[in-house]
Subunit: 147 residues, 2 copies
Amino acid sequence: MDRDGLAADVVRRMAHLTASVRHRQGTAFAELGLTPAAARALHELDPDHPLPARDLADRLSCDRSNVTALVDRLEQAGLVERRTDPADRRQKTLVVTGDGRAVRDRVAEVMSDSRLLAGLTDEELGTLRDLVWKVSDGGLPEPCGPE
Amino acid sequence: MDRDGLAADVVRRMAHLTASVRHRQGTAFAELGLTPAAARALHELDPDHPLPARDLADRLSCDRSNVTALVDRLEQAGLVERRTDPADRRQKTLVVTGDGRAVRDRVAEVMSDSRLLAGLTDEELGTLRDLVWKVSDGGLPEPCGPE
DNA sequence: TATTGTTATACTCTATAACTATA
DNA sequence: TATAGTTATAGAGTATAACAATA
């Protein structure tokens, strides 16, 4: 196989692997009563450093308008509270509740569950790490987000 | 960083990379007048071996009901034709048209465009291929699809 | 005038269930 | 009765545009 074919195959398999990961995470999140997007949102909220909704949208690389529905659900589930910022009453600070902390910890566990790579030796894993880093550092001008 | 943290980081970065690839592909498909799902559907259709819609759904790992809308758009764009199978009039065979062939070739090019990995040497690329293969072969019971 | 959060709206993707025409 | 394709419907995710409150 030529270089292009090889590279294309690697990209295809990586896409397959991450699709598999997303699928497993989705079912795990559902067991927590969260949709994948809501889980990601909760995960981005640091319980010790509350954020305005606008910053959460930035972290999720999505429009602010989407955050409203996401936070609606998290708030309804008692995991997050909206508090109007006294310093700037336009902003609403998103505060993770006690329950929210616990669920967020579980979300973090699910997200860092890497049974996917269990078949690799420590050395192979290190090598893979180096290669993936090299690609993700130098690979693209804009790794994500709108153009 | 411990092994779990390392593995989680690799998974996270791979997800980031494939999200980036999907994003670039999405914009390329849009320039062809296709949504990502429609592009994938067209890509799965072999111009030399027409398929019934049911088989396309199988290849896309999605419900048959979705194929209808997908093929609607492809047909409207003149890329695909529905032909009732004379041998079993329930089935509709999906035939890629002349225009469809050309667009499908472009879709295939976009899908195998791997500028993402341009920064790797041939040797590194080979190593990455081996590692990704090892993971994707032994990694998971069900690589995709419903449970 | 500019910004924050919200609402209204629309489109894509996907799934389930019911319908039709065939077999 | 079983299957192929369709339709209707629903929900998640994401985007744009307009709006109210605030700066």
